[in-house]
């Protein structure tokens, strides 16, 4: 054998590599949302479908336009994070929302929620929730007008003024209904937990069935693509704080089950708070983060002006994440008592 080495390359180890990559994680999160998306389309018909398609397409387009406009498969759009942002945003919106508002929310989610910070991995807040917070602040009425779910037979019936022209006042001539949280807050009326669990209640697209969301979350946790500590911690925390209030005055405060199943809690806990970019790195940090969200949800729902508090709870804890990370740095192997390094500058 000669000493010819022209076909050898010199690279650096390690040469073994796990097959999981970031676009694959994004793809699987989207797969886990498919049952919820299908349920939303069944319950809310074409309005829901339009919202999901418009939000997803707008988010992808916004990402593509602002990051080079090269071939799609080479641009950051290919990593799937923009599509995921769009789907998640759509799932937090009420079915009859005028589509121009959805477009606006999507643009805010991508531009202000993500790209302004430097793109994927750099954002402080969950992009979808940033978009939704903007819509909530700008169009509070449209964002809290809920169409009741109907069956597939009414698939083609629009659930609101979907095609309202931008900056005109949308007309809600269809039926509207109150969400379980609003019913509880403003009418003191409980919704039975079975319908909240299986679905078919008024609310945002992704809020109706806790069961399908949990199934998606279990799948992701099983594949190792989801930090299970966050949803488990949030559920525990909500259960503890809600129960404490409930037992102090059962007539005023609903029980833990109501809090767990109503509104966007499951969607937020499983798919929003677990966004790794805007949540803490360490297990201890994850528990603190989850406990904080649970506490804030119960506080906002019970003592705030709004019936729902999941969005703000998550956004507030997103803001606290860098601090949590700083306080929960892992203690290194073989650390000697004070881990103070003489870092001279």
């Amino acid at each position: 054998m000669s000493n010819t080495t022209s076909r050898l390359v010199i690279a650096t180890p390690p040469f073994a590599k796990r097959s999981v990559n970031t676009p694959m994680i994004m793809r699987h999160v989207i797969y886990a949302l498919i049952p919820t998306v299908i349920a939303a389309v069944i319950y809310f018909g074409i309005s829901a479908l339009l919202l999901i398609v418009i939000c997803t397409a707008t988010c992808m387009l916004a990402e593509w336009l602002s990051t080079g406009r090269g071939p799609l498969f080479l641009s950051p759009v290919a990593d799937g994070s923009a599509a995921l942002t769009g789907i998640l945003l759509a799932l937090t919106l009420p079915p009859g929302l005028p589509l121009w508002m959805a477009v606006l929310g999507s643009l805010v989610a991508v531009f202000f929620g993500k790209l302004l910070f430097g793109g994927l991995g750099q954002n402080v807040f969950n992009p979808s929730l940033t978009g939704r917070a903007f819509l909530q602040a700008s169009f509070p009425v449209a964002l809290t007008t809920w169409a009741p779910p109907m069956g597939l037979r009414e698939f083609l019936v629009l659930r609101g003024d979907s095609f309202a022209l931008p900056f005109t006042r949308p007309v809600f001539d269809g039926l509207t209904a109150a969400t379980p949280l609003a019913k509880m807050k403003f009418e003191g009326q409980a919704t039975d937990w079975i319908s909240m669990f299986y679905g078919g209640i008024p609310g945002s697209l992704g809020e109706t069935s806790a069961l399908l969301l949990v199934l998606g979350g279990v799948y992701l946790a099983w594949r190792g693509f989801l930090n299970w500590r966050v949803p488990v911690g949030i559920f525990l925390s909500v259960a503890i704080f809600a129960s404490a209030l409930h037992y102090s005055d059962p007539s005023r405060f609903p029980d833990a089950l109501h809090h767990l199943l109503a509104g966007g809690l499951v969607l937020g806990a499983v798919f929003m708070a677990t966004d790794p970019v805007s949540s803490p790195l360490t297990p201890v940090g994850s528990w603190i983060f989850a406990a904080g969200i649970g506490l804030l949800v119960v506080l906002i729902r019970q003592f705030g002006g709004l019936p729902e508090g999941v969005m703000y709870a998550i956004l507030l804890m997103n803001a606290a994440t860098p601090l949590i990370d700083r306080l929960t740095q892992p203690g290194i192997y073989g650390a000697t008592k004070p881990v103070k390094e003489a870092s001279k500058s």
Binding site: A11, P13, F15, P330, G334
Partner: protein, 444 residues
Amino acid sequence: MSEAKTFRHGIHPPEHKELTAGRAIERIKFPDRVVLPLSQHIGAPSRPLVKAGDKVFRGQVIAEPGGFVSVPLHSSVTGTVVAIRKHHHPNGSLAECIVIDVDHTSAQTLYDGYARDWESMSSAQLLEEIRQGGFVGLGGAAFPTHVKLAVPEGKHARWLLINGCECEPYLTSDHRIMLEWADSILLGIKVMARILGTEKSYIAVENNKWDAIKALRDRIPADMPCELVPLETKYPQGAEKMLITAVLKKEVPSGKLPIDVQVVVQNVGTAAGIGDWFAFGQPLIERVVTVTGPGVVHPTTLLAPVGMSLAEVLTHCGGLTDDAREILFGGPMMGTPQQFLDVPILKGTSGIVCLTEGQLQQRQEYPCIRCSACLDACPVYLNPSSLGALARAGKYDDMIGQHIMDCMECGSCSYVCPSNIPLVQRFRVAKGLLREKQAREKAA
């Protein structure tokens, strides 16, 4: 299956050990020439005792230690010294080597090959014997064995840990040694335990090698204070600190050595070599090398003389396949890529892994999504995600405060990263620059 111990974190890459695990150790015939680098170990290079034209015998000392942290070098063949000159070294440098042409008329019997009466020797005598045998750690790091066995004043070794983990993918040389040379290993352990005055020895083997666990367990005499500990199969368990944590549930303090927690760790191959030195006087002149990977035609477990060239070893194994692109000395996680085929096998060369085109494909790097997979993998509990961001920004000084110097470069972070960020690669650069800077500051 009995419950297996392990350390926290770590990874489990595909093992690929089936290529060679079933192949018995095969002695390769002597080559025409061997090239023996004066530096095959950590520490000062050895000083040559021979010159061109000298006749040397197999097992004869041809270079003396260049200091305390150094070992003598023995000729691995009977033949004639051709030259002492610079030659390609597997570490990528040009290094001083003794080049010896093999005398094919010789029977290649051992020079001075006789059994040592180790039981009548004192601890100091045994230690000196081991130094004379030219032993270094055979697991890959090649640290002089007698230095590790010389317990500093005021310290005491309670436990001797024999490392049979072989946690790198592909490699199976330690596996074969445990299967075939159990008695040599046990003799080596007895000698080392006597030198150290330890209470107990442990042989730690990962549970992907049940045949080796059984083979060794059956051979341990009832009166020998030695226990076989099966470990869960996980990388980098063969790292000294991880092994100590897995077996004894102790953490070696940052910046300290195993002896600070009363432990000495030695590789199974080293133990077997020491056993053979006392049994029939064979110094460290040959070693078991796994030649494997999809890039080599016939994966083989070889017993090769130290100094044999990579090219000849590969030829013996049927050569490289057409799509072979990378040859590593050591495993795929921490091995050293080779540029030239004339580099010699060293005392510390545990395996030659040949990888193909498909295993080297460039992967697109994505932004860090803070998924924390690297934190869950790091065996020393660093925060590779944050360190990676600092390294990328060139903020090397800030990395010290995040304990970059505790990184042992095992590569687990790079292995798990879904965004394909070259974390350990950047850490190596950072550590190199930081060390240079410290040296400069010291000099100033």
